[in-house]
């Protein structure tokens, strides 16, 4: 039987008290918790507690409100601000009814009076806090998902309506331009140029509408078990011509034993083509692009895997496709906006700012993850993490 180890961090400046709690927890022999074991770590200051949660995974915190570097409700507020997803049980010496209610309102899971908590009460409080917090987080996650799904639905309706209402007038303008172009045919270069610019403008508007439709029609995915390498090869074939024209070399490094993934092939291809095109456009002529696949366990402590929206937990296997270039780094101030709809750095070249936000939506729908970052050795890397087939 697998043991679930619960990591309890005791934050208490009275060492005797802290040790007593630790002993109560680690020597627990109560039937209902026999499947679990506790690992206890100790901190005596708020600063120490914050440092520990920043680098280690903690399941539950037992917190004395009065510490050398912080006192009262403030201690709880500060710690919760730092780690809103870790359940906290407050310990204190004096019974104070108002404080008890305050700490619960401020998000503590429970309230224990020092010296009065026996074995069973302590264990139950710790265990229930963890469970209750898990349930809360799960509820929050489902709520967020529902809201997101509802949002996508309304964007979908909006986009479909807008598409029809915008594309028809665009079609009329286009036919009108074609008519006028014929009427003005002659030596006038300026008129010709203006007509062409108007045509380009219509096509650009159409392109934006198409992007919106794409963005919103993501709910019907056609999921099939697929070899990701194949999809990457097809995607590369689609952009190879553009790359060759600019003497950009493509190096591939595919893992021949890559686990299969369950994906909507054409959608994921759309993601790769988008990432490849971005990589190409941001590089000077003659640079190199590397496409690589591999399977990797998500590490704890890496930035991937702690937040619920990541869809991955530490230790879980992920199938990774990496597209990296040797081009210039993305400025830090832009990096956090690149997935926002309509954010673009190439508007004057016809960029709509929908490419990456569509890519992110597609990957999200696959319960995957997309990351774009500047590599330490130079260049930019775009990585897509997908779930392997069980």
């Amino acid at each position: 039987m697998q043991k679930n180890i619960i990591h309890v961090m005791v934050v208490e400046d009275d060492r005797d008290e802290a040790e007593l709690i630790g002993t109560l927890l680690t020597t627990a022999k109560i039937p209902e918790v026999s499947a679990e074991a506790f690992r206890v770590s100790y901190q005596t200051t708020l600063r120490g507690a914050m440092a520990e949660i920043a680098k280690e995974y903690v399941d539950v915190i037992l917190l004395d409100l009065n510490l050398p570097d912080s006192g009262g409700l403030d201690t709880l507020i500060k710690l919760r601000g730092e780690a809103p997803s870790i359940p906290i049980v407050v310990l204190t010496g004096a019974y104070d009814r108002k404080l008890a209610i305050d700490v619960l309102h401020r998000g503590a899971q429970d309230y224990l009076i020092k010296g009065k908590s026996d074995h069973q009460l302590l264990l139950r409080s710790v265990r229930y806090s963890v469970e209750r917090k898990r349930a809360e987080e799960e509820l929050k996650r489902i709520q967020t998902q529902l809201i997101q799904a509802e949002k996508m639905k309304s964007v979908g309706r909006l986009a479909a309506g807008a598409a029809h209402e915008v594309k028809n007038p665009l079609a009329i303008i286009m036919m009108g331009i074609d008519y006028l172009t014929r009427k003005f045919e002659g030596p006038d270069e300026k008129t010709k140029m203006i007509m062409q610019q108007m045509k380009d403008a219509v096509l650009r508007a159409d392109y934006v509408v198409k992007g919106l439709l794409n963005f919103s029609s993501l709910k019907d995915l056609d999921m099939k078990v697929t070899n990701l390498d194949e999809v990457l090869k097809e995607s590369i074939a689609l952009v190879r011509h553009a790359m060759e024209k600019r003497q950009i070399g493509i190096v591939t490094d595919f893992d021949p034993h890559l686990p299969m993934v369950k994906i909507d092939r054409s959608r994921i291809q759309q993601v790769f083509v988008n990432l490849l095109t971005n990589a190409e456009e941001s590089m000077p002529d003659g640079c190199q692009l590397t496409v690589k696949t591999y399977a990797k366990k998500v590490e704890s402590g890496s930035s991937v895997g702690y937040r619920t929206e990541d869809h991955f937990v530490p230790g879980q296997l992920s199938v990774v496709a990496e597209i990296s270039n040797t081009g210039p780094a993305i400025p830090e101030e832009i990096l956090e906006n690149i997935f926002d709809p309509f954010f673009t750095t190439k508007r004057e070249r016809g960029g709509t700012g929908l490419g990456l936000s569509v890519a992110k939506s597609i990957v999200d729908q696959h319960k995957g993850l997309i990351r774009i970052y500047n590599r330490e050795e130079g260049g930019v890397c775009a990585a897509v993490f997908l779930q392997p087939v069980d």
Binding site: H164, V166, M175, K199
Partner: protein
Amino acid sequence: MSKKKILVIDDEVNFSNLLKINLEDIGEYEVKAIYKGSEGYEAAREFCPDMIIIDVVLKDADGRDVLSLIKSDSQFQHVSVIILSAVPLKQILEKHPVLLGNTLILSKPITLAMLVEHIHQQLKKSENG
């Protein structure tokens, strides 16, 4: 060579009219434009077109139903069709996959040059077939 006849069915009146003018200016086509789906079949019988260009979203009818009705008449069974619509391709195919065959689906907006190219190919295909 006699002019090819094209029947345009689209409730976007300005679009239909402009399309008629543009196509007729080329000199190879005779175009009739109507704006109601319900008049489609009647118009086809009167005009006897070589090709039908139709939008699927019409105020008074579903363009695909109009096409089915026209094509159920043996006279028009093999008539060339271009569906020209602002509705996404996938949505059009979902309901009436049977329509495909000598039907081409194009998306609005489209340049005249591109449309003429497709009209040309479709007509050639139906002559050969």
